[in-house]
Each structure stands twice: as structure tokens, then as C-alpha cells.
Amino acid sequence: MAKILAVDDSASMRQMVTFTLKGAGHEVLEASDGVQALGIAKTQPMDLVLSDVNMPNMDGIELCRNLRQLPSYKFTPILMLTTESAGDKKTEGKAAGATGWIVKPFNPDQLLTTIKKVLG
């Protein structure tokens, strides 16, 4: 099963994402902002990174850009958790190297369906 890094500054979102992914048998690591996520990512490869956009210290876009600089993250799927209204954020995210996005709000089923698109 996949090893997934879940990045969000909201504890409830993080818990929900982690709970859902673990329930589906994945291994999940958590980070509460981009800096922390990057730190984790540097020490170990991931099969997928799920990141919120708006976060303190380092936002999701910046995280994405930084991850793509890492050799082991060149092709790793990175999905941004974003809100519908933030159309330009999607573009920005894509420009920074994000694979795609999951539109908030989403429920656990939507999350699992979406990540299936990029895993395996």
C-alpha cells in the first residue's frame, strides 16, 4: 500500500485525511505546514503528497515547488487540497508542479476515489 504524506495546518482535516487513508490501508505521515512536510519528505520517499494550499510558514504552492527540486520527488504525485473558488490557485499549483487537486470540501469517499487516480 502507498506511503502518503498529508499536509494541512488544520488538525481536523489532517485527522480526517489520515483516518480515511489509514482505513484504506495506506501508511500516512502528517505535517502541519510546508516546512515540516519538506523536512519529512527529504528523509524518505513518498508515493503521494496531499497538501493544503493555505498554510503558515510555507504554503502548499511553495512546498510543491520545493518538492519538485528534490530528485526523488520529480515524478511523485502531489495533490493540492484546494477550494473551488481558488481558480488561480489551481493554475499556480500546476505551475509549481502539482499533479492535480482535490476540491474542498470533499468526503472520505471522494478522497479515496481521487487518490486512486494517481496511485499504483
Binding site: 495546518d9 488544520s10 488538525a11 481536523s12 482535516m13 485527522q15 480526517m16 483516518f19 480515511t20 482505513g23 484504506a24 493544503d52 493555505n54 498554510m55 503558515p56 519538485r68 520529480k74 515524478f75 511523485t76 504525485p77 502531489i78 487540497l81 477550494t83 473551488e84 473558488s85 481558480g87 493554475t91 500546476k94 508542479g97 502539482a98 499533479t99 492535480g100 487537486w101 476540491v103 474542498k104 470540501p105 470533499f106 468526503n107 472520505p108 469517499d109 471522494q110 479515496l112 476515489t113 486512486k116 487516480k117 494517481v118 499504483g120
Partner: protein, 704 residues
């Protein structure tokens, strides 16, 4: 898979409240002319997270409202909108409104949406009024529409139905792979959508020679024919993420014979997608689209809100340390037990004592977790003062100190409302209008000081204003009018001041915004009494008044000085101890034949023997051999005679009243390291018991 989302609600509520606090703080401290980007980002992020969480957890009332708030904040953040006072007010009102909505939801009630709708309308007016450009994007999104298709609308004319199927041309940019997108996965998804009724044709005409090839680039392109009538949206979704990194043409399949059901009799050029790029895509998971929207149980409208507590890492770390010590002790005892003989009894006893000590410490630390800094309550007051002073047209500055003073969470939760009332009262009745202040030679801006500190095992909270002080005449006439006193009664100042706490007393000349709440000072006093606390008022005409709240720390931690009298141990609150001295030939004066007084430097300090006051039936030392603990209470010093000073330690205050009753001169009990109970001394109570009327004891009486 269905996940019960309600398990995350509590966390969501808590972080949302925190987010709202952060928003409020940010808004209050904002310099409107020069907005700090970090500040506005924090505010925006808080709103954003609340909206996201609310959407996820199905609180659509919150989502809809927060959405407009967020949109406005986003414009401010982007510099597209200027912040001004009225906008600030609406934003602050929104914070309050959201807090209310969250509280309703948390307690399982249907949220009261009137205010939210009003505010929302205001925001919408603001949004449509000025910056037209940004508005449209926000419209559809407010409710959980959640239309996922990335309507890129290239073939805008095509409606949903593909008729007989779809023809797709997919020509990726070479860098497609570097965004983490992988054509194989996309084809697999299409295969699922079309239930296998799909042909894929690959084109490798752009493939360079091996030497010119960049292995990280994609040189292939594809034509896909889907022979099934699926929704266009489902196809769009597959290509949603690559629309910018590829040419994607999607056309409805027309005319061709869709009737030939048994699909691909495989023409040579048609290959199964999975064979194409890699074989990793074998498992095709013919899952029935399991998008049955995770039905959560009717979000558990449990009335009993499970409350939780946030604990600082320090406290948790210290707990972990103690558990570590406990484990060490345990393993030491374990080893001792393996080959035990009677010669090692001493070590066993030590070990057991250590174990007991560890356990006790652990217990105390766990108790400490309930203690939180009073800033949790104080933090809402800057806002209160700001808003209220605007309503009152007064200039008022709030000065707070002692925010880190800790008290029990339960006490904290209950002291908020009385404090709000007292602060409002100081602003409403205490502080004068700016012109009146200037006329009286005061600065235009009034000050309300909010102070918290520990004293004699109490938490003391003072609300002090530099206003006009209590208006004695007005209080008296009001009290007479309300039948609280008769006209011929003569009262001391203190008695007059006390009248304001009587039920049915209100001095508000007119029912203002503030006093219209139907809560009087009597309720404040009652609420404080319910916490076993007291509230007093002091007033100085023309200079201001102070309300002093004393609350016991039922569960609080106290730094204690252990003392012994005979074989008994008592605890003095360390904060109230000024010094401890031995009499050693110092002179004691006898005042009026009933009380001993010690001349300590320039002051006469009345002496109270603890054993006498408490009628302890113990052999205690003579006065000469004793120790005098000089303590301060209510601004006065007294000397308490004890036999010996023992150690100092932090103790957890436990209630005597819970199972027994209040004892004069005792504020509570605690459990010592050896498991026995020691009583904690209430200094001011002790002074009262001893009948030391400190205030009347000045040098002149003694000289007599």
C-alpha cells in the same frame, strides 16, 4: 468505505475557536493603513480553514457564510480592497457571529442564521459594489455545489450526453510526466469509466532518436475511442489535471455502429492500455463506483458536549519525564525482588518510598493539566473594550497584567461572564466621557486595568478604572427609591458601596445598549459566590473604583511552605509569606493585655499563635523557641507562631467542603508526599479568627 465524520467534529470546533481568536486578535491589532501581510495572511488562513473544515464536516451554514468573509479577506490580502473602519467592524461582527454558529452546532442546536444572513448580505453588497471583477467566481460556490468538472469548455457546444461514445485525442506536452501525471493511470481510469469498451491507439511519430531522447519526457500521443455512452463530465474529470499540459480534444462519437457490442476484436493497431507503457497497471479493480456519499449518522446531537483541554507541550513533557522515573523505579524494584533477602529490606523501603513519590508527583502533574493561564479569558476583553467604548463614545484603554496566572479550567469557564459584566460596568458607569474627563483635569482617555495574581491561595482579579468612582448620592437615592433602605438609615461608605450588589439595584440612567441585558451586579456576586469567591468594591470619588474578585483555587496548585506545630503539619501559601524570624530575645509588646505585638523594623505586627487559634491539643514549643512566620493579608502583616519551618513544595489544593464543610482559617487540604493530609491555612481567615483588628492597630495605640 464510510467514515463517521462526527469523530472529527470536536477537533474542528476547537481549532475553529482558536482560528476565530486569531482572526479577532489580528483584526484588533491591525494597522489599517499599513497592513502587515503576515497578519492578514493569518486572518485569511483562519477563515479559510474554518470554511474548509465546515464544508468537509457538513456544516453548510458555516461554509456559506465564511465563504463571503473569505472572499473579502482575500481581496484585502491581495491589495484589491482597502481596509476601513466599517469593514473592520463587519469583520469583527462576523467573528462573533461565527463563534455563535459554532457554539450552536457544537451543542447540537440548529444555528441561528439571522445575524449571519444580515452580515452576509452586507459582504455581498460590498463585494458587488466595488470590485466587479472578482465577484462572479464566488457565486456558485457558496453552497456545496461541488461540481468537480474542470469545465475548460473547449468544445463548449457539446452537451453532456456523448450519444454513442467519445473520441479523444490526447497529445501531452513533453513535460507532462514531471507534474506527476501518468498517462497509464489516466487510461486505466477511462477503462473503468467505459467498463472496458475502449480502444486506444498510440502515436510515436514524435519520438526522437535514442541519443536525442530525454528519458523524462513524454513523446507519445494517443487516440482513444470510448464506445459507451458515458457522461462527458466523467471524461473531463480524467483529463482535468492535464488540461494545461496537453492538447485534449474530446468529440462525441457519431454515426459509427455502436450496436456491435462485443467491442474490440482487436485490430492490429489497437492495444490495451496496460500493455502500452508499463505493465504495472494490471490490477483493474472493477469497483462499483462507491460514491455513496458517506452517510454520517445524524451528527450525534448529544447534549453533553464532551469538553477537552489543550495542554502545553511543557506539561506533557514533564509528565513523560515522570513516567520515565516511574519506570526506572519499577525496574529497580523488579530487580530487587528477583533475589531478595532480608538484608536488602532497607533498599526495598527506599524503593517503595521512591515509587510512592513518583506516583504522587505524577498525580499532581496530571492535576496541573487542568490549570490554564487566565489569558484564555482575558483575551476576549480587548475586543470588548474596543466595541463598548465605541458604543459609549468614550476613549478607553485596557491595560492587562498577570495573564499567565493559572487557574482551574472549570473556574475559568465560569468567571468569564462576571468579568465581562464588571468591565462593562466600569466603562459604562465608571469612566467619564472625554469632555467631562478633560474638564476634571484628567486625560481624555480613561483606563481600565485588569490584573490577576495569586494571593493567599486565592486568585485575585482586579478591575480598576480611573473614572469618577461610585456616586454615593445616586446609589443612596436609588436604594431608597427601590426600597432597599429607608431614608433615615445612616450607612458607612462600605455599606453604601455594597448596595450595588443588592438584587433589584441598577443605577443606569437610561437603558443603554449595555445595561439592557437584564443582568445586575447581584447576579455577578451570586455567580462569584457560587465559585466560593467574593467580590468587593473600593471607590475613591473622582479617582476611580476597583472591583476585587477573590476566587479559591479549588483544584489549583499552590506553592506552599510546610510548617509544624506539635506533630501536626500545616501549609502556608508561599506568596503570602513576607519573612520568617526567630524571636530570640526580641521584644514582644502586649497591647491592651490581650494581644502580643512584635516590633519588626518600623512596624508593629500582631502575633497569632497557631496552636491557640486552632485550639490544637499539642505540645508546642515556647514562644522563645518558636518561629514566627510573618505573612501579609489585605495589605497588613501578621506574625503566626509555629514550631518549625519544614520544606517548601507545590501542593494541589483539595476541597474540604466536598465531603465535609468549610473550616474557618483553612482554605483547603492537600496530600503530602507520604500520603497524609495537611491543611492549608487561609491567612485572612486566620487573622479574623484571632480577632486581630489589624487596621485599628497603629503605633499610637501601642504607645499608650
Amino acid at each position: 468505505m464510510s467514515v463517521d465524520l462526527s469523530q472529527f467534529h470536536q477537533v474542528f470546533f476547537e481549532e475553529s475557536y482558536e482560528g476565530l481568536d486569531a482572526m479577532e486578535n489580528g483584526l484588533l491589532n491591525m494597522d489599517m493603513d499599513d497592513i502587515d501581510s503576515e497578519v492578514i495572511n493569518t486572518i485569511f488562513r483562519s477563515a479559510h480553514s474554518i470554511k474548509g473544515g465546515a464544508g468537509t464536516f457538513g456544516f453548510n451554514q458555516i461554509t456559506g457564510f465564511t465563504h463571503v468573509v473569505e472572499t473579502v479577506l482575500d481581496e484585502i490580502r491581495g491589495g484589491d480592497r482597502k481596509m476601513d473602519q466599517s469593514l473592520l467592524d463587519i469583520l469583527l461582527a462576523s467573528v462573533d457571529c461565527l463563534r455563535g454558529l459554532l457554539q450552536d452546532l457544537q451543542s447540537g442546536d440548529e444555528p441561528e442564521m439571522d445575524t449571519a444572513n444580515e452580515l452576509k448580505a452586507k459582504f455581498e453588497a460590498i463585494l458587488s459594489g466595488q470590485t466587479e471583477g472578482s465577484a462572479p467566481s464566488s457565486n456558485g460556490a457558496s453552497d456545496s455545489g461541488n461540481s468537480q468538472s474542470g469545465n475548460e469548455d473547449q468544445n463548449g457546444s457539446t452537451p453532456d450526453g456523448g450519444g454513442e461514445g467519445w473520441f479523444i485525442r490526447f497529445i501531452p506536452e513533453p513535460q507532462l510526466l514531471q507534474s506527476g501525471n501518468e498517462p497509464v493511470r489516466m487510461f486505466r481510469q477511462l477503462e473503468e469509466v467505459s467498463e472496458g469498451k475502449m480502444d486506444v491507439k498510440v502515436f510515436h511519430d514524435k519520438m526522437p532518436t535514442l541519443s536525442a531522447m530525454n528519458p523524462e519526457h513524454c513523446y507519445l500521443s494517443w487516440e482513444i475511442t470510448i464506445k459507451k455512452n458515458v457522461d462527458r463530465a466523467q471524461i473531463d474529470e480524467v483529463f482535468e489535471w492535464v488540461i494545461d499540459d496537453a492538447e485534449v480534444h474530446i468529440e462525441p462519437l457519431v454515426g459509427t455502429t455502436l450496436t456491435e457490442e462485443p467491442a474490440p476484436a482487436s485490430p492490429a493497431e489497437v492495444e490495451k492500455p496496460s500493455d502500452l507503457v508499463t505493465s504495472a497497471a494490471k490490477e483493474k479493480v472493477p469497483e462499483k463506483a462507491d460514491t455513496k456519499a458517506a452517510k454520517k449518522p445524524p451528527s450525534s446531537p448529544q447534549t453533553q458536549e464532551s469538553s477537552s483541554i489543550r495542554v502545553s507541550i511543557d506539561k506533557v513533557d514533564s509528565l513523560i519525564n515522570m513516567v520515565g522515573e516511574l519506570v526506572i523505579t519499577q525496574s529497580m524494584l523488579g530487580q530487587l525482588g528477583q533475589n531478595f533477602d532480608i538484608s536488602r529490606i532497607q533498599r526495598l523501603q527506599e524503593g517503595l518510598a521512591q515509587l510512592e513519590h513518583n506516583t504522587r508527583e505524577l498525580q499532581e502533574s496530571v492535576m496541573k493539566i487542568r490549570m490554564m493561564p487566565i489569558s484564555f479569558v482575558f483575551s476576549r476583553f480587548p475586543r470588548l473594550v474596543r466595541d463598548t467604548s465605541r458604543i459609549l463614545n468614550k476613549k478607553i484603554e485596557l491595560v492587562m497584567s498577570g495573564e499567565s496566572t493559572e487557574l482551574d479550567k472549570t473556574v475559568m469557564e465560569k468567571i468569564g461572564d462576571p468579568l465581562v459584566h464588571l468591565i462593562r460596568n466600569s466603562m459604562d458607569h465608571g469612566i467619564e466621557t472625554p469632555d467631562k474627563r478633560v474638564a476634571n483635569g484628567k486625560s481624555e482617555t480613561g483606563t481600565v486595568k485588569l490584573t490577576a495574581y495569586h494571593q493567599s491561595g486565592n486568585i485575585v482579579i482586579e478591575i480598576k478604572d480611573d473614572g469618577a468612582g461610585l456616586n454615593k448620592e445616586k446609589i443612596l437615592s436609588k436604594a431608597i427609591e427601590n426600597g432597599l433602605i429607608t431614608e433615615d438609615q445612616t450607612l458607612t461608605d462600605e455599606q453604601v458601596h455594597d448596595l450595588i450588589f443588592q438584587p433589584g439595584f441598577s443605577t443606569a440612567d437610561q437603558v443603554s445598549d449595555l445595561s439592557g441585558r437584564g443582568v445586575g451586579m447581584d447576579v455577578v456576586r451570586r455567580n462569584i459566590s457560587a465559585l466560593n469567591g467574593t467580590v468587593e468594591v473600593e471607590s475613591f470619588p473622582g479617582k476611580g473604583s476597583s472591583f476585587i474578585i477573590r476566587l479559591p483555587l479549588t483544584l489549583a496548585i499552590l506553592d506552599g511552605q510546610l510548617v509544624s506545630v506539635g506533630d501536626q503539619t500545616f501549609i502556608f501559601p508561599l506568596v503570602s509569606i513576607v519573612e520568617s524570624i526567630q524571636l530570640e530575645g526580641r521584644d514582644l509588646n502586649n497591647v491592651g493585655g490581650y494581644s502580643d505585638v512584635l516590633l519588626l523594623r518600623d512596624e508593629y505586627v500582631p502575633i497569632i499563635p497557631l496552636s491557640g487559634t486552632f485550639n490544637l491539643n499539642v505540645e508546642s514549643k515556647t514562644l522563645e523557641e518558636s518561629i514566627i512566620v510573618v505573612v501579609e493579608t489585605e495589605g497588613e502583616k501578621i506574625g503566626v507562631v509555629v514550631d518549625e519551618l519544614m520544606g517548601q513544595q507545590q501542593v494541589v489544593i483539595k476541597s474540604l467542603e466536598e465531603n465535609y464543610k468549610r473550616i474557618e482559617g483553612i482554605s483547603g487540604a492537600t496530600i503530602l508526599g507520604d500520603g497524609t493530609v495537611a491543611l492549608i491555612i487561609d491567612i485572612s481567615g486566620l487573622a479574623k479568627m484571632a480577632g486581630v483588628s489589624i487596621k485599628h492597630l497603629d503605633a499610637s495605640t501601642i504607645a499608650a
